[in-house]
């Protein structure tokens, strides 16, 4: 083990729905944890770092630097690096894919991004939804409440549906009322969920613009754990998607990676 491998860096992603913290050791994600966003974000992040150090059996003097990103990045003072979440996402997915990713679709708590990057993780171009929340993590949470179904179950339930309903609306508010109508009509929850996945997939495909996408497309953000949604987006884009382990932590990992130099792929 080299000296560098004893050194830890931290990446904090203060998102709109979750605070994600990773500890990076020797270029690899050594520890990660996410908690819901709540007041006192800076304190929560520091507490998470302490928890991570304890889990790894390290003391705080081993932590050489901290980088911060996300909507709340301005709340953390004294960070070694403050980086926007789009650039952090590009860098994170580049490192985690060993330089293979050229496009990453991120489904965040409040926004959806389609990011194109170079072989070294440099941001080339991106598209992002405006203030509409359709297709974002927040939208899935709202639908989960209506369906009385935890979002974590959306994936397997959606996959089980053989005949998804067609949900027309991409507006979060109207999609919700459409779902209520479908429930009232007795449509099975599984069919509604998979219909929802396809509705969100259409919206993402529209944002992405098929022609602009290079192969090696990755999907990250918490929603990437939803296999039903992944399949729907693949169908809509007519491309395979790669989903890495811990897709919710790519951006925090990218922030920590920004503390180092550019990768040498």
């Amino acid at each position: 083990m080299t000296k560098d491998e004893f050194v830890l860096t931290a990446g904090i992603d203060l998102g709109s729905t979750a605070i994600k913290v990773v500890l990076v050791q020797g270029g690899r994600m050594a520890w990660h944890k996410a908690v819901p966003t709540a007041p006192g974000q800076a304190g929560i992040a520091q507490k998470l770092i302490g928890e991570g150090l304890a889990a790894l059996g390290r003391t705080s003097d081993r932590l050489t630097a901290t980088a911060v990103t996300g909507y709340g990045k301005g709340l953390i003072h004294g960070a070694g690096r403050v980086i926007d979440e789009v650039s952090a996402n590009a860098l994170g997915i580049c490192r985690l894919s060993d330089g293979r990713a050229r496009t990453v679709i991120n489904i965040g708590g409040q926004d959806v991004k389609v990011i194109r990057l170079s072989a070294t993780g440099k941001l080339i171009d991106f598209k992002m939804n405006d203030k509409c929340a359709a297709g974002t993590g927040r939208f899935f949470e709202a639908v989960g409440r209506i369906l009385d179904t935890p979002v974590e179950r959306f994936g397997p339930m959606g996959e089980a549906a053989v005949d998804p309903v067609h949900i027309n609306n991409t507006c979060a508010v109207f999609a919700e009322s459409e779902i209520v109508s479908l429930m009232a009509a007795g449509v099975a929850t599984e069919r509604i969920i998979q219909g929802l996945h396809h509705s969100v997939a259409r919206r993402i495909a529209s944002l992405a613009g098929h022609r602009d996408l290079e192969d090696d497309i990755y999907l990250d953000g918490g929603a990437a754990n939803n296999r039903g949604l992944v399949a729907a987006i693949e169908d809509e884009l007519c491309r395979d998607l790669h989903v890495l382990s811990h897709p919710q932590f790519t951006v925090a990992f990218g922030a920590a990676s920004a503390l180092e130099g550019p990768p040498t792929y």
Partner: protein, 408 residues
Amino acid sequence: MDDNNKRRARLRSRVRQEVQTEYESARRLMEVRDDYDPVWAYFLDLLMRPMDRDGLQAAVGRPVVEHLCNQAPYELFHAMGVHPLRMASGCFAAGRLSAGDFPVLMCPMLKAIVGMQRLRESSQAAQSARVVPTTCDWVVQYQQMTDADPEQTFFMELPHLRESERGQQRWLEEAYELVRFLESRTGVKLKRKALCSSVRIFMRAWQAIGRLIEQRRAGRLPAVWFMAVANSFMLDPIEPWTEQLQRVLGHVDAHPSQVSGKGVFLAGSPILFPNFKLPLLIEAAGMTVLGDDLCTSERIWPGAVCPEENSFHGLLRALAERYHTACICPTFADNERRINTILGFLQRYPVRGVVHHVLKGCHPFDIESLRLERQLKSAGIPFLRIETDYVEEDNRNIATRLEAFAEI
């Protein structure tokens, strides 16, 4: 007064208060900047004037003729003893007063204009004559939106083909019609001498604005100050305004400083006080606007008017041509000139990309952004389209995009 009328009066009073708060907050944001100097106070004072339309009328010292868009030559109004005042507003609170009567996705600027008018519906100013060049679909519907007196409204029919001789000839005819309209309203017969004098007066203003534009392009003037000056155009008589602008130029010369941040070009829909959120967010993201093609900013300047002959017809023709051919509004069907202007700017100045502002509901700029994006990206120039309106709830989302754009 019945209950409903009382409610309406209370609502207007509440909105009037909100409008005032919005204007004052925007002004305060400018005054607390590190680069604030008393030289800007005059322009900030002017920016507050639209709240008090009667006061504004008194300050300009001439009968006011309101207009939409930039195509009607200012020199004509001035030569006939009236003061042209652009109907434009970036006020969210004012828009709230009219929003319920219009489509949700209607241009927020038009909503704000109508809202501001409703706030002063009992004043004399509501009786002003109005000149409306027929640019976008919203503007064309202006008459219906406001129930303005048709006798007091003159639509200048803007030919949507600009580069053709036919279009230019038609526009010249419209300029003559405008003269006839103004003559009928003022009782003043437009004379060649008065027009010559007016052209000279405005030429001084155009020259000063041209110098200010160069200062900004050289990175010596933050975009928000440039926009403050541009937005105050014609909120005072032209001569003192030009004098104050000369003072600003002297100030910028005497206090040379370099604006920090990566240079960008700002294109698209108009940006109006008190809504300076986009230029402020661009600045906060570490970029600086070195140039723009907004009709409320650099494009208020049509460039020098160069008559081939000093006859009345020669002057009118030169004015009409200048205001028509120099205009790069996307309501023109043949608008290659706009894209070429942007590409030319990018070649001459240290600009890293184009931020394209689309006001929600501003279809011409929305549609044209697609072609512009394609052309710029194929030339390897970063392009960011920001679609927004007058609310602040999307500030964080826009800031995220701008911060990332700065890193491309």
